[in-house]
């Protein structure tokens, strides 16, 4: 919500700045400053060990962007990244998929029934306020160190954004449209299919975006504390061996994955929302 508002505000102020006659620089200024600050950060970071003599202890914990890039390259070139990446990805994928399979129908159901909604509301409020991480030791106790404890942690992390957004979208369904399809003899199933779900789609996709972030967090944390392999395990072990460049490589892979998935969801959203005059900002 705040994000889209920020974007709109940014657009508004850039329009103000781009007064007629003021040229190229004003159009590229935001991008130039944005990229510039990232580049500047990387350069300063790279130069620190060359300009300042770091103590031996600090050096142990220090890496530079060029080292990280080299390590990333090595991890992919030798192929040693693929096994942990695959393990993490399967836990992530299965958990997220499960959360969609469960969260979507459940959200529709709760959104359509006032009684069910009133009954489940305390549980949703409680679980949504609580960091789901608190269940990690319990999940590990139940499911052990394998794939499935990871799947379950990802699942309970990603479930609530999907469930809550679906339910909000469903509750927002236009009463008139529901009456329209009912007047043509629609049953509850038709109402869900024809009105409720399409109407909730923007909300569901916003929920999916949130869920991706939560799922990545779930994978990372689950692997830190209870896993035999995966990217997170690789990172913990590297941290123990002071291979800071490997830790950052893992971080970057996670970041790129989560950004790429979010971008994919955004593309999906654009394809699904041709019918909308303006994009709904959730």
């Amino acid at each position: 919500m705040s994000e889209s508002r920020t974007i709109k505000a940014a657009l508004a102020s850039s329009d103000e700045l781009a007064a007629p006659g003021k040229s190229l620089w004003h159009r590229i200024e935001p991008a130039a400053l944005g990229i510039g600050s990232i580049v500047a950060l990387l350069v300063v970071w790279e130069l620190v060990p060359r300009l300042i003599t770091l103590s031996a202890g600090t050096k142990l914990f220090f890496t530079t962007p060029s080292q990280v890039a080299g390590t990333l390259w090595r991890l992919f070139a030798t192929g040693e990244i693929w096994t942990p990446l695959g393990v993490s990805a399967s836990g992530f994928g299965l958990g997220l998929l499960l959360s969609i399979v469960v969260g979507l129908p459940l959200g529709v159901l709760i959104g359509r029934s006032r009684t069910l909604n009133d009954m489940i509301d305390p549980f949703i409020t409680a679980f949504n306020a609580t960091p789901r991480l608190v269940f990690l030791p319990l999940v590990m106790l139940w499911l052990g160190l394998g794939l499935w404890s990871k799947v379950l942690i990802v699942f309970i992390g990603a479930l609530f954004p999907i469930l809550i957004n679906t339910y909000e979208g469903v509750r927002n369904a236009d009463k008139v449209l529901i009456n329209v399809v009912r007047s043509f003899g629609a049953k509850e199933w038709d109402i869900a299919r024809l009105v409720v779900v399409p109407n909730a789609m923007p909300y569901i996709i916003a929920g999916l975006r949130l869920a991706i972030g939560r799922a990545v967090l779930g994978v990372v944390v689950a692997e830190f504390f209870g896993s035999e392999s995966g990217l997170g395990v690789m990172m913990v072990q590297a941290a123990g061996r002071y291979q800071v460049d490997v830790v950052f490589s893992g971080l970057i892979i996670f970041a790129v994955l989560s950004l790429a998935l979010t971008a994919m969801v955004q593309i999906l959203e654009q394809r699904l929302s041709r019918w909308r005059p303006v994009h709904v900002s959730e």
Partner: protein, 256 residues
Amino acid sequence: MVACIEGRNVSLTFRPPNRGPVRALQGFDIDVQDGEFLSIVGPSGCGKSTFLNVVLGLIKADSGDVLMRGKPIAGPGTDRAMVFQEFGLLPWRTVLNNIELGLELKGVPAGQRRDVSQRFVQMVGLSGFEGHYPHELSGGMKQRVGLARALATDPDVLLMDEPFAALDAQTRDVMQVELLRIWHEAKKTVLFVTHQIEEAIYLSDRVMVMTKRPGHAKKIFAIDLPRPRDYEMRVTPEFNELKLQIWHALKDEITV
């Protein structure tokens, strides 16, 4: 002779949560003849739209009988279709797909639906806009889609709930002319609810004035103006005389 739609002593009370009950209809009687164009005018909240929803089968009356050709109305059916005030178009469907909605729910095969909806696109004058989404249409065009969608299932009765209330005055006039043309072409019984006396007279065979809530019939006026009617008819003395009579019947019911 059995009336097309018949209401006998219909009463209905809404019980909204967290508020007191609202008596919408009490002792409401009505007869709509086959092929007739009947308008109901009444003050805001008098229950006229509620009765339309009862006929449509979306709500049930608490007591009294609502009959369609002598049989009680138990729920929605393909012999009745509604044109909604807020258009009620599915925003994620194109014009053609919106018109197909009723046929789709009726289980008509896809190819056949396409032919039928295409025909009604033409009837309401929307050729060339089949692939447009509702947000790309003007208000008048949206309601043409709403009309085509209602007609596509070939109902006996067309229920119209202030269908032109959301349109600007000029578009409204044009749509009234269009509606009469389509009504002649499609030959349906129409039950039309409106706030506008002039609109009711111009379109109808009979006009019913309702009391304020809980609503029932106050007076029925026969509109013996010749058909086909043209726009100029609205300034004839006969037209204005009717307008005055109906206004007198209505004005005591309006509370500001």
